[in-house]
Symmetry: C2
Subunit: 395 residues, 2 copies
Amino acid sequence: MVNDTMFARGAESSVIREIFSYGLERKAQIGADKVFDYSLGNPSVPAPAAVRASIERSLQLPSDQLHGYTPAPGLPEVRTAVAESLNRRFGTSYGMGDVFMTVGAAASVSMTIHALTNPGEEVIVIAPYFPEYAVWIEKAGATCVEVLADQGTFQVDAQAVAAAITPRTAAVIIDSPNNPTGAVYTRETLDALAAVLSAANADRDEPIYLISDEPYREIVYGVEVPWVPSIYENTVVCYSYSKSLSLPGERVGWVLVPNTCPNASRVMPAIAGAARTLGFVCAPALFQRVVADCVDEPSDVAAYARNREVLTQALSSYGYTYVEPDGAFYLWVKALEDDAEAFCERAKRYELLPVPSNSFGVPGWFRLGYCIDYDVIVNSLPAWKQLADDYRRER
Amino acid sequence: MVNDTMFARGAESSVIREIFSYGLERKAQIGADKVFDYSLGNPSVPAPAAVRASIERSLQLPSDQLHGYTPAPGLPEVRTAVAESLNRRFGTSYGMGDVFMTVGAAASVSMTIHALTNPGEEVIVIAPYFPEYAVWIEKAGATCVEVLADQGTFQVDAQAVAAAITPRTAAVIIDSPNNPTGAVYTRETLDALAAVLSAANADRDEPIYLISDEPYREIVYGVEVPWVPSIYENTVVCYSYSKSLSLPGERVGWVLVPNTCPNASRVMPAIAGAARTLGFVCAPALFQRVVADCVDEPSDVAAYARNREVLTQALSSYGYTYVEPDGAFYLWVKALEDDAEAFCERAKRYELLPVPSNSFGVPGWFRLGYCIDYDVIVNSLPAWKQLADDYRRER
């Protein structure tokens, strides 16, 4: 029989995708330059030139070497390149055995949730949060437990996490630099979270795992992004090259089970088992090689910084309140009425397409993806002003 | 807590992968040309030249168009190209809405099982069968029910399927051309299977689905591979370009929910929901475009036919019994003792690496993947003869 849960997950478009589709239609109606689509996290910054050079170099390889199956955890030289890059940056001693190449961040996180939870257990997420976490947690048979971030700074509220921990808590997922708020968790935040988890572990046979989802690690505006496994040893890191190398459609990333994780010898096989069980065979072979060649390519953060600057200055002058984003390419803005969905519907009148905060598990805000063209942002500013004026007139 | 099932699935290497790893070690010890590794289904035939031309053409596109997220079901022009190719070949009237691009055949089948089964239901597989079916069925919470193929022809035994159907039967998986036997199911076989399923459906609200896993459709030696949805309407087809275009590492394929399937409007969203739920975001973007460009490229069957010829003639003359393979690039051979695992261990003495049938759910046979270099096959023949002589001397 057709599975009702799968049907529901497929039939309910994600709100983000729905807004994106509306934007495409609207652009067809009135012209692409007249619609200001802030819905998606599809980077406008091109992939570095090294990506193309790497692909062209790989095309010289014999076909069966180039396009053949790789080992399930990835090509040894690619896993080694990833480990060594991390070692250079974080003073760690990882080896290829700590790295499992994946079909992008969604695969990384979905596999890790399956590896680290059992049916009936609980996984804590920090609201607002990336909505697919809840879908993957449900599929693993676990329960998604939402804990509100500090509503001023959008840092993790460690005491709120402490209050949510039960004997069934298997893992906590964090995502810094954060989607949707742009917050980057400070060392103090992570120290406090680690203290809470370590205290809880004293009563348990197996520790609570910290799943650190870090696709935006490289997109950061002058602040430190602490290396989480050096703060809490039971951390598994999930990564993707979707944002740092602007390759979201190519689906390549990794899971790191650090050799400093006390249970690494049980966690890594469980990651491999989850990959196999869910139907992932290996990460795309050609783009594994791209990763090896481009592992230390810098992301073009300057382009996002320029977008952030023009957008925040303008919104601020129009009276919008937002969280100062330290990383990622999202701006988290207070809606001008309590009902964020109503606000976003009204924004459509001005051809503005933000995403209401409800899809991230909290009311009253909206998310702007400013990874779009600079000109689109600049051209949208009068519309943002008119929208704010509109609300002001009503008050 | 680390999930025990995931740990077990990761810790138990697949037998096939274990033999492959042994082969790599052994090659390092005694020289690559002295080890005759028949374990994997990694095509030795290169990808058609059109693949490289397509990649080079795509590299001219703007980066965000080329490497950006595609819609979850795939790029519209790619889905259309796939549908139209099928229409030309099978006289069907499919459209892009019937095609969902996937991260290879494993994703196709895993997603389809999740979409079409509920926990507690049963999925029938035809033994010998591709061992990962059982892993994916277990993950969906369903039970894998093994039904023996006809042990002479290795066609589906429709009466045995009829006997195995219960009110909990959700689906039957078939795989023709077959891995591991090389059998191609005839029209008569499929008619008989369709009759059995249709008869069972008379008592049910929702039909039994037929999942037709067809990665080897193009690798066939002069026989017809009937189009299954034209024989049984409740068929979902799973495909991959791993074998036909020799791209197993790149992970690209599709699921077809034909518009002639009465429940297509419920099945397709469930496929999409399964993709989302398991952590697949989209099929790799660059290779989606390769598919559109190469959808009608012929496979180089001649190379496999030559391998098949030299191997079957020699084994036959040494006294081995095998199933005459009509398709795929596997030979299914009777072990020279009852215990196939013992036979395969003994074969190692001659540096021969077959896969014992136990991993495919039946005793007494072994599988040879003859998608390897012709010279390896020719050089291995004296070893196959010595192995047979060995057994003869003991009798």
